[in-house]
Subunit: 223 residues, 2 copies
């Protein structure tokens, strides 16, 4: 029998409330991360928090985050030496799955799946690792696209900074199902239940400068 | 002629790159905030950043964020005195509008609208303000629902903590349109353009304990 792999909970990955929603299962965490491509990257600057939406990709037990070499968190993640102290970050990925409507305003909620990663981010120096990270980023956004676009050249690679964050101190949090109710509320006349929500992709819009007749790739129609 | 209101840029609301995407226009900021209901709340704990998905609502030039009285950021936002120092936070709201596919991997991007708010959050003490804030939260999630559910009672109000953040140091960032290309890439055969994406609401799922025949409210079908 295969043992399911789990992340070890730490004090800061143990929620103070709704603990039954927490999960440390690696497969659960990976599935939530792999479904998305925009994370919210938190770091501290001059003692104050900063949260920026950022593209990411996962390769094994590492997250790669995208930026330009001029962007603040990337510069703060240090120089190019592996011995640099790096940047303390928190990376959060959230998928909203439904709006939960209860009899009482108090019990209204959201069905969601989120992953929170704490750790120290480092700049990626190695060119092969950087190329693999950028491929993973593009594949997260549009699976199949890496093989169907021009790879980055040396100048573009140099202009792109990538930071790496090991998946070590990680937790998922998941809410599913219908509303919780106070027993005495059940007779109230209000409709209750869940309104499902998910990201839906529309018809691809060709670029103005796309040559007429260029076929639409199959991996787009599949989304 | 009415003067459009704008937020004054500060050093930390001035992006280091893609400055042409930044906006400080109040109506633009409000529209982005009002379209969402889940923000990413960043704060600093023991010197390290924490980013948590959190429900929010806007009332005028204030954001209200939801939590339980036991949750960490709420406890850190201080006691019930208006003179408490509060909690330094960064609140970020992001809507993804499209995946931007360019000839080169490097120029792949995302169309998005985001708002970043920096400031000091305070616990809401006043009961009327708290009630109004919770109404705004519910209305953000499901417009029309406040009038069609049981209002919070005193016990529920006491169990709910709400933090308030004034909209003062605020910026929006918006990317729209098709891919940027290197001129020499235009002859490459790859399909380019935008794959639009938006949250789509499905058919409401009634709760297991909902009385048969309870009509589905019109404000749900409208989403």
């Amino acid at each position: 029998m295969t043992q399911a792999k789990s992340f070890a909970p730490t004090e800061r990955t143990t929620p103070t409330r709704s603990r039954e929603r927490a999960s440390y299962d690696e497969a659960t965490v990976h599935a939530i991360l792999d479904e998305g491509y925009v994370c919210h990257l938190g770091f501290v600057r001059d003692g104050a928090p900063v949260v920026l939406p950022t593209l990411y990709g996962r390769v094994g037990d590492r997250l790669y985050l995208h930026g330009s070499t001029g962007s603040r968190p990337l510069r703060m993640a240090g120089g190019t030496a592996e011995t640099d102290p790096g940047l303390a970050v928190c990376v959060t990925v959230t998928h909203v799955d439904g709006l939960v409507l209860a009899k009482s305003a108090f019990h209204h909620s959201i069905n969601y799946r989120s992953v929170v990663v704490h750790g120290i981010a480092h700049q990626v120096i190695d060119e092969d690792e950087k190329t693999a990270a950028l491929d993973a980023l593009v594949e997260h956004v549009v699976p199949g696209r890496t093989a169907d676009s021009r790879p980055a050249n040396a100048k573009e690679l140099a202009a792109t900074a990538v930071i790496r964050l090991d998946l070590r101190e990680v937790s998922a949090k998941i809410r599913t199902g219908g509303p919780n109710e106070e027993p005495e509320d059940l007779a109230l006349p209000y409709w209750t239940g869940v309104l499902p929500v998910s990201p839906v992709y529309g018809a691809p819009i060709p670029a103005d400068d796309l040559a007429p007749g260029t076929p639409e790739p199959a991996y787009l129609s599949a989304r």
